[in-house]
């Protein structure tokens, strides 16, 4: 069952989409949009990496399947019991009430999820986007070591090739709109950035990764670092004007909140489009592996 890696990947993608639908019907549009875009970019990245895993040997000695199944079932049953216990425990809604009451009065935002992310818990988000940016930074030397001789990009669909550029611009506009409306409606820097990364992946897949880089405002890793600096800068403005790091000031589009969210947007866009573009482009090879083996 599911011997094929591509089938496994597609199934995982489907599980992700199913989770997104679940979020969508549980009153969490922000989560649903994030999950949809993340799943799309994940499938693109994993497919681009598939050739490097080599041929799958069907004689792979597996862990004895009864043991494997038993362990998996125990894990599932444990989760089931844990969740049942959680269901029985009383709900503590003090925090929910606090955030619900203070989101608009103290932080001037209607979308409570976004307000928590960029205002109340902004320091946490800053650390988190730093991890996202550094994951690309850490992967870059590894990506340089992966070498492919063949150009891998889809050819054939004239329609997609023609429609690519307008579609790219449209998607970037959508991403910017999602970013700007994020504070008061579902949206925000994370979702906007992921949408923009999807747009970049589209160009890299249908045309060429080089064109995708050319259409970016900066090189991916630079963009991620600029975003990080912007988010940090938003924090320092708060330190200078209100003597507290990350104390936000201003209103609407011209506020440190928006500056921070733009930073998040750039980090997410730069990092994930960086992964896709570097994976799809045959980077300047260090040396092909075959030649190395022949020498030995």
């Amino acid at each position: 069952m599911l011997q094929n890696r591509l089938t496994t990947l597609m199934s995982v993608g489907l599980i992700g989409y199913a989770m997104a639908v679940l979020f969508l019907f549980s009153g969490a549009p922000d989560l649903a949009f994030t999950q949809f875009t993340v799943e799309t970019v994940l499938v693109v990245i994993a497919v681009a990496l598939l050739p490097f895993f080599g041929k799958q040997s069907l004689q792979t000695p597996q862990l004895a399947w009864p043991v494997r199944t038993l362990v998996a079932l125990i894990a599932g049953a444990g989760t089931f019991l844990l969740l049942l216990t959680m269901l029985g425990a009383p709900e503590h809604s003090e925090l929910k009430v606090w955030f619900s009451e203070n989101a608009l009065t103290q932080a001037n935002g209607h979308n409570v999820v976004n307000v928590i992310l960029v205002d109340f818990r902004a320091l946490d988000t800053l650390g988190e986007i730093a991890v996202v940016a550094f994951s690309l930074l850490a992967a870059l030397p590894l990506l340089k070591g992966l070498y492919t001789s063949e150009h891998r990009h889809a050819e054939g669909s004239l329609f997609i090739a023609r429609a690519m550029k307008p579609l790219y611009i449209l998607m970037l506009f959508a991403a910017a709109w999602i970013l700007l409306r994020g504070h008061n409606d579902p949206g925000g820097g994370f979702i906007g950035g992921l949408t923009a990364a999807t747009a970049s992946s589209l160009v890299a897949l249908t045309q060429s990764p080089q064109l995708a880089i050319k259409l970016l405002p900066l090189r991916p890793i630079k963009m991620a670092m600029v975003g990080l600096v912007l988010a940090l800068g938003a924090g320092f403005i708060g330190l200078l004007t209100n003597t507290v790091f990350m104390a936000h000031s201003g209103n609407g589009i011209f506020s440190t909140v928006m500056l921070f969210d733009v930073g998040v947007f750039l980090v997410v866009w730069g990092s994930f489009s960086g992964f896709v573009i570097h994976l799809l482009s045959p980077v300047t090879p260090l040396k092909p592996l075959q030649a190395e083996e022949e020498r030995q």
Binding site: F25, D30, T60, L83, F99, H110, R121, A139
Partner: protein, 132 residues
């Protein structure tokens, strides 16, 4: 509704663990993806969903209506999705690099090609592939 949701999360955890116990490196990475999805849903579930109204304060109101969904668990899960994805990307690239260098994604072969310490060298098989 909530019992079904619990069941779905548990089955997803089972599927993720089952994939994690595979010998194929790519499968293991997919298991990581499925397991992180399951845990995200678990955290989301801890916020007691049940409302289909997004936690957005309606214009004209000062506070969020009590019918709306819990915003806190959503904010936590949103960052968890993105950070989990970034780490998954890095792990995928790392795994691809390792299997490419060793020309195998089989965990057993990868384990055997590890340089061995003196203590356990007599118990395990000799390396079948020399490191560079």
């Amino acid at each position: 509704m909530s019992l079904w949701l619990i069941l779905v999360i548990s089955v997803t955890v089972s599927a993720g663990v089952w994939l994690l116990l595979s010998r194929d490196l790519f499968r293991i990475m997919m298991g990581l993806a499925v397991l992180s999805m399951a845990v995200n849903t678990l955290v989301f579930y801890a916020g007691r969903p049940g409302s289909i109204i997004a936690p957005v304060i309606e214009s004209g109101h000062q506070v969020l209506s009590t019918d709306a969904a819990n915003p806190l668990s959503q904010a936590l899960v949103l960052t968890a999705i993105v950070i989990g994805f970034a780490l998954l990307c890095f792990s995928l690239v790392l795994a691809a690099m390792v299997s490419y260098k060793k020309q195998s994604a089989n965990l057993q072969i990868l384990q055997e090609s590890e340089p061995q310490s003196a203590a356990d060298s007599k118990h395990s098989k000799p390396p079948i592939m020399e490191t560079e």
